[in-house]
Symmetry: C2
Subunit: 386 residues, 2 copies
């Protein structure tokens, strides 16, 4: 929620619509685009005409779901559970999701400290088979750890197999990871990953379109994949059989103009067959994190330093602005000193520093952090309002 | 040798030059192109001026080698050992080797019954690491067997590892295979492949640029690779470490405009690292023989039937013409009947039928062989002179 205590009508309306429309419903998405949230809510509350082209039966189904929706209660419960709802127009909204057009999520439920918008700016998806081989798990973990060490945020779906190995690899390297779930983010699925997803919420972000308490279905897994594809700069498929769900993620990434990559495996392995199919198309073969980073880091790994910040300071979340202001001008500082200056905890300071790194404001220097040359120039030129 | 008993001056001259110049010597190749074989021989016999741009020392070295050359003796010994010398201009010369420009072989020593020209028309190279893994050997053998079953001739280098597995895979499927050696074709190398290379000479072809008795050297292995690349429609690399010789073959194929393919393997395997490097470039990932055949068979697997013969009948070797003439017009015939009609052995008839199949003249039909529709049309139109 964007700052203040009283959530605005648009946000409450979107939470309401999330109880009525299934994720990825492009017809509903078109209504929202054409008439605005308030008008769609009004009609679904039974106070307006049935839209053209909708059958009686479908309309009755939507109205029935609308009757049970209690968005204010959802928001209160979510707040109590440490969740927030981020929607288009919010400072934390990742603008690249707009590429999904009418299939754009109504909003995302988020657990975790960092800014989703900023982490997503410098993120890569690592996805693959649930029933992966030892080789697949090893490659997912190694790639994710390497990406985390290169300063990339690792996004995956929280599932068994490749997804779990990728999240664990990033966490194990002390890096940043985001799980995009196909269920309510308060309701970790699969159950066997309750602990893992809890750790991701502590150290990273757990996000999803579905309202609190909702359960996953086969079609929800499929539509969830478009969010993973759209959120990230590229998708790496580690192991996938023919017709696997991770291939759908890769193809969505391709349609969205994101980089699509695959990790090769033995030609004799059915769990690599889907990846090889991708690699015979336009996907790029990758064997380590450096190759992934080279591809998705458009201007090379030093790009942020050379380009300078990609987001004006006044769009930074207050927490990140505080940490940025606490960095000394001409030297590196340890995390403890920065946290004291920003009046926050060292854990929170690290989360913010990663965001600021994604944006090209700060860089690691030995054990500490310092402003990049570009950030110092923008301070000198008076661009900053913080 | 092209027919008659008395080898012509050009052929003897090329055998002589093969004793003096190293394979792939582009300076020598330019002399041959600019002055003709006879003039280069004259000069190297000490009866002409030293060419411009050649040092005293190098020229003295060439003259010393020339002094020891006895081409007529080479040819007589070769004939006695069942070898022939095929050179540009011969009916059996594979014209695609001319793509090598001044690095074109002076000629090729050949052991085996089939026509090199015709087998090469429909051939694919399968190459890779000597010290391959079990996986590499399995993939090489499976690919080669599959290619042989699709009617493709499998070309490789006769080495341990991938090469040997490819030759054995093709032989095991009753298919056609060609070993291109980096030494005299009467002197199988490696020694441990004496039996295998003997079998290839019985059932297929063993070819090489080096004169009888010559031994391989590291640089001869490298220059040999250009012949494998040029002879075939495409090169598949099965396993290769970084900086491996088979990558040189693949790159030569790429420069020559041939298809370049690679079989993926685990990203953790150093023996797949070179292949993955290729696949990150312009090479195409392949996992089975059908994918290779689809790529190299320009017009699809039915192409020869649809296109009709690619070589006029009067360019066929006499043995192939005899077998072609023995095929009945309107039905399929078993090999025994064809062999009787052509007054040859069933083994020889099979070798010729494979050549004719490469050229689109014949096709398998149950257990027998029959003329293709196109071949029958060309008979009707009086194109044939056999």
């Amino acid at each position: 929620m964007t700052g203040g205590d009283a959530p605005d009508e648009e946000l409450v309306g979107r939470v309401f619509l999330g109880r009525v429309l299934e994720p990825g419903d492009e017809v509903g998405g078109r209504w929202v685009r054409e008439w605005g949230v308030a008008e769609v809510v009004r009609r679904l509350r039974g106070r307006g005409a049935r839209p053209a082209g909708v059958s009686d039966k479908r309309w009755a189904g939507l109205l029935a779901r609308a009757e049970g929706a209690e968005p204010e209660r959802d928001l209160a419960a979510a707040r109590a559970a440490g969740m927030r709802f981020v929607c288009p127009g919010d400072a934390e909204w990742p603008g690249q999701l707009d590429d999904l057009g009418d299939a754009r999520p109504l909003g995302l439920w988020v657990r975790g400290r960092p800014s989703l918008r900023m982490w997503a700016l410098r993120s890569v998806a690592v996805v693959g088979a649930r029933a992966c081989t030892e080789y697949g798990a090893h490659m997912a973990a190694t790639l994710a750890a390497g990406l985390a060490e290169h300063g990339w945020v690792v996004v995956s779906g929280g599932a068994y197999g490749v997804d779990g190995a990728a999240h664990r690899g990033a966490l194990g390297a002390g890096g940043a990871t985001v799980a995009v779930l196909a269920c309510g983010v308060d309701r970790p699925y699969p159950r066997g990953h309750t602990q893992l997803i809890g750790r991701i919420a502590e150290q990273g972000l757990v996000v999803g379109e579905l309202p609190p308490g909702d359960h996953p279905t086969p079609s929800r897994f499929i539509v969830r994949n478009r969010v993973i594809a759209a959120l990230t700069r590229g998708t790496v498929v580690v192991e996938a059989a023919h017709r696997s769900g991770s291939l759908a993620t890769a193809r969505a990434a391709q349609r969205l103009g994101r980089h699509t990559m695959g990790v090769p495996g033995p030609a004799t392995s059915g769990l690599s067959a889907g990846v090889h199919e991708l690699l015979r198309g336009d996907a790029v073969l990758v064997t380590d994190a450096a190759e992934v980073a080279e591809l998705v880091g458009d201007m090379g790994e030093l790009a942020p330093d050379r380009r300078g910040p990609v987001l004006p300071r006044d769009l930074l979340a207050p927490g990140a602005r505080g940490v940025l202001a606490a960095l000394p001008g001409g030297r590196a500082a340890p995390v403890d000193e920065i946290a004291r200056g920003a009046q926050t905890t060292p854990d929170d300071a690290v989360a913010r520093l990663y965001e600021l790194r994604s944006l090209g404001y700060v860089e690691r220097h030995g054990d500490g952090w310092k402003l990049t040359r570009q950030a110092m120039i923008s301070v000198r030129d008076g661009e900053s309002r913080c």
